[in-house]
Symmetry: D5
Subunit: 149 residues, 10 copies
Amino acid sequence: MITQRQQVTDMIISAKVLKSIKWSNVAQEVGLSKEWVTSGCLGQMAFNKQQAEKIGQIFDLSDEAVAWLQIVPYKGSLPTSIPTDPLIYRWYEVVSVYGTTIKELIHEEFGDGIMSAIDFSMDIQRENNPNGDRVNVVLSGKFLPYKSY
Amino acid sequence: MITQRQQVTDMIISAKVLKSIKWSNVAQEVGLSKEWVTSGCLGQMAFNKQQAEKIGQIFDLSDEAVAWLQIVPYKGSLPTSIPTDPLIYRWYEVVSVYGTTIKELIHEEFGDGIMSAIDFSMDIQRENNPNGDRVNVVLSGKFLPYKSY
Amino acid sequence: MITQRQQVTDMIISAKVLKSIKWSNVAQEVGLSKEWVTSGCLGQMAFNKQQAEKIGQIFDLSDEAVAWLQIVPYKGSLPTSIPTDPLIYRWYEVVSVYGTTIKELIHEEFGDGIMSAIDFSMDIQRENNPNGDRVNVVLSGKFLPYKSY
Amino acid sequence: MITQRQQVTDMIISAKVLKSIKWSNVAQEVGLSKEWVTSGCLGQMAFNKQQAEKIGQIFDLSDEAVAWLQIVPYKGSLPTSIPTDPLIYRWYEVVSVYGTTIKELIHEEFGDGIMSAIDFSMDIQRENNPNGDRVNVVLSGKFLPYKSY
Amino acid sequence: MITQRQQVTDMIISAKVLKSIKWSNVAQEVGLSKEWVTSGCLGQMAFNKQQAEKIGQIFDLSDEAVAWLQIVPYKGSLPTSIPTDPLIYRWYEVVSVYGTTIKELIHEEFGDGIMSAIDFSMDIQRENNPNGDRVNVVLSGKFLPYKSY
Amino acid sequence: MITQRQQVTDMIISAKVLKSIKWSNVAQEVGLSKEWVTSGCLGQMAFNKQQAEKIGQIFDLSDEAVAWLQIVPYKGSLPTSIPTDPLIYRWYEVVSVYGTTIKELIHEEFGDGIMSAIDFSMDIQRENNPNGDRVNVVLSGKFLPYKSY
Amino acid sequence: MITQRQQVTDMIISAKVLKSIKWSNVAQEVGLSKEWVTSGCLGQMAFNKQQAEKIGQIFDLSDEAVAWLQIVPYKGSLPTSIPTDPLIYRWYEVVSVYGTTIKELIHEEFGDGIMSAIDFSMDIQRENNPNGDRVNVVLSGKFLPYKSY
Amino acid sequence: MITQRQQVTDMIISAKVLKSIKWSNVAQEVGLSKEWVTSGCLGQMAFNKQQAEKIGQIFDLSDEAVAWLQIVPYKGSLPTSIPTDPLIYRWYEVVSVYGTTIKELIHEEFGDGIMSAIDFSMDIQRENNPNGDRVNVVLSGKFLPYKSY
Amino acid sequence: MITQRQQVTDMIISAKVLKSIKWSNVAQEVGLSKEWVTSGCLGQMAFNKQQAEKIGQIFDLSDEAVAWLQIVPYKGSLPTSIPTDPLIYRWYEVVSVYGTTIKELIHEEFGDGIMSAIDFSMDIQRENNPNGDRVNVVLSGKFLPYKSY
Amino acid sequence: MITQRQQVTDMIISAKVLKSIKWSNVAQEVGLSKEWVTSGCLGQMAFNKQQAEKIGQIFDLSDEAVAWLQIVPYKGSLPTSIPTDPLIYRWYEVVSVYGTTIKELIHEEFGDGIMSAIDFSMDIQRENNPNGDRVNVVLSGKFLPYKSY
């Protein structure tokens, strides 16, 4: 009996390790970005029927698991509010060190409001560099203004 | 007597509001990016002598304050570990929802290691869009591999 | 020297008590809803120049304070992450007890996405009732869908 | 052996996904609002015998599970005190940003007291809107005054 | 400038120590129970005009302070969520050790609902006892049922 | 293998729901107050041999479970330090709002010391009332003075 | 204006450093143990009139401060719930590592109940030892049994 | 498969309850103090081979479990950083209330340094007393000075 | 089904106890430092194929477990953010007590930046010493400067 | 009036910035290591009279401040339990990622016990390296064994 999306994520991760599946290949087969597809496989997004069935084939999932992939999950992928994993912590650190800077500059350009994390996309790329390759990430979020009423 | 960088940040913020100074203009005068200069003014970076004196002129700071701008600060700009401000929270949410995705994709491309938050830069731009303008942010961080020893 | 919006909020609150000003009257003079105007006076919204000057007159604020009212504040009005005040706690309790219900019903109707807290308005009214008057609150937030990309 | 209501909630959720049951249909069959019935199915309310048996039929529950549906549960539906799920967080954010505003306006209208979260109802509706449909939520809670004694 | 009720509480406490005032006498002069009056003096309740003026006389408060006594305060009297003071901790311990017991017995008698902490009173008395005097406390709170809707 | 008292509590709760047992009847059969017996069944008190065997009969427990009922448990019945359940939270709120009041009044009457939570009893009763029935709770705890040495 | 016992503690500490006063001498003059007198000077106990006046003479305190020494303080001497100071942390560690051991052995000897921290005394002594001197601490607390009722 | 010392502690506790074993008898058989042996059985100390085998006989442990008793465990016996159990909490309270006192008096006698919690022993005894028996605990820890370098 | 690296760590630990394997021998067989190899076995590093297979032989792991050893783990080896284990706590204490000192001295020598915890190695050695042997640890981390941009 | 060591630390930091004093020069004048002297200046160690007077001269401190330098401080130099400053966080991360490794290897070499953080010294050096200079830190702590008793 599946009672939480986490169980499906566990099945996907287990199959991925056993079969050496790559996220970028999964994304290609689904026909969407690797960022969105991976976050879906990790239990953060809901797939539509067709996408879920494709994911089910790739990872050999049961029909019940495929049904769960189409349910909106309870989101949040980290076990602690301050992440312990060094790679993810660096992102937390960017928010901590640059948070007020980001706030000031977006407000200076747009006024009061936020950069949406829903109408949002992310693109992660390798940038070759003689001093050591770099990770380049483009975040794009719609600006949503606070309006008086 | 100044005993913490926060006092200098307070002076800068107070002068900024009174004189309607813009961060982008400060950055232009200092000759560096608005992201780095703003984070420095907000107490997260150390300026060199020349930069500090320029900042001092713009915000009418005392010599003591200008000396403090050249001291490496205790970093971290947020009052709580989970930010309450909606704009900054959205960034925390991106880390929470996409954290494991970012981890998987960087490891798939680069192997074990991290994206540096020190050898790092950020560029925030407005993107005009008929469905509502967007905030585009490019993050660039050197990949640092874990090596066995 | 004003270095934080909280100082201006303190001035407003102090004047309000001394002069027995009512939020609904302030709202009327500003020409907007009592909900938005009050949250602005309590340091959660940025006013435009004209609004700020009106607020300044009502509460006898200095020019510096009026300038601060036009700056986007660091939002979040509560001293602890779980509120201790009984009235505000009841709202936290609604989120705790009904949170998953709200999530299920919005997803059932709209699919994956959120109800915006930015493109959002609130209206608080008294409802006369023979069994004891009731507080009626209407919350209206734009639905923002997660989209695949 | 069932030892916690959560186990019954798990059974309900599991059956719901497998059989594509809709909360609004469950509510209709039970003859009450979708908000109250859903919160009960999610383990936050106690059903009476007749309601519990109806729920039991819909979700194919054992007699033991049906008995548990009639027991008052330990309430609180969220795994962390600050919710990580974006939809639910937006509600937490409303409490954080507007909490003091709600407090001021209810006190201005009613004096000292609270808006009950027990003698309380909620109604969630879609509002069609050319700029994007909206979620409209009406919260109704009895005002309970603090009285001197 | 008074900006928080805490400042008035400080004035009251300071005067109380200097003048050796007793809470029971204050209550007598105000004509209400010692429990309610003390909690008001400690910043947890709002007084009406006449009560506030009487309190003002007893503790030699300024008009501004007397005005503040009539404002509904942000409630919650403890500096930490788990109290460190041994006397208050014992009450927290009662909630921790007997919390589920209280819940079971009230539900067994009344069904689903709560014992109100708003429509509530408390009476603290000394009970002489040859084995050592006892503190007897009577708590009385209206039962508020959850109702289906 | 039973390794924690919680397992026995689970068995008791499970049997109670299946057999519709009432705490007040259990107490009657054991011959003690419903408050103490219930807290014992919920894993907060140790029973003597005779009491444990009686409890064992009522709930059909194994000999091992009956042995565990006679072991002093690790006390504390709540899953979080600030309870999420509304009924129990109201008691936490009483401690939060009235904590300093209780402290002041007990010290005024008794001097420095505490009201014991060990040499302690509690009695919960329904009080019929035309404005809605009330929960009346009498707490009785021995006063224990701090003594100089 | 003194509004908290902490201010008096600050005065005592400040005078102690300036005048090189020793706690053991203070205790001798007051005629009680160094443990109790020191904890009182550090704001954890209430002195009687005579003791407070003696303390006042030793540390040159104002009459207002002497009055405060006779008021029961809000107890708890540490700034964080897990102490950062190494000497005090070692005591916290003893509770963490040996806590369940202490519980088991006291229950084995006495049955269910606690060792009082109110009817309690402490004696700290140096023990000369060729392998390095030792700190010997004797804690004595009355056993308080839980009784059924 | 045993993967954590906690599993062995569970086996010991389970056997102890079933067979009514006393810690003091275990200690006698092992030939060491009841404090050290109990803390070892509760998973806080490592036994040598001979001690482990003796413990294994007493509690009927498997060879694998006996092997685990000889492994240094991850120490810390409490489920929360502030203990909820009343007996153990009283010790936490002693640290909280007397922590700064202990610090002052040890420093006054010994200078800067700590009382070791490693080169440490504890002895718990019953003291008969007409006013109620007392728990007497002697803690002995080597003083370790901070030295300049 | 293996779904988390922790399961593989459990298998390794279990085999290590049963077979009395030493980390230093494992490291020798793998041909790398004991520090890096141990942290990998404890689930903090990813092994390459050859290393993983060697580890698999030593600890008798399944092919699935060996596959998991080559996956980058979610790092962070401690169950609480402030470690309870005395040995590990002493390291936390070093960070707490000497943290600002380390920061000042590295900045004095190198300017703004950090000591990498990724391009990092550690070497732990016993130092014989007549006053008691010492643990000597050498930490080596690349200095990474913050650069303006 | 100085009431806390932090005030003296503030004076030292303020003078250091104004006069561009280097910690290594202070250490040289005091005649001890830069690590110990800096930690003392930052409020973590107690100086003897001669050292304190030398520090007083260097930083132009008052006699009262010099007296405070000789008092054992309440230790712990960080404002949050998980440090936000990137340089200090990296050390916290080392404890988090390598904590269990350090524990295993010290126990393998020495048996049960700890590496002292009191009988401890630290030496921080720059290591020139063509791939980027490194920070080398040697930590030396006495091994303290747990002994049975």
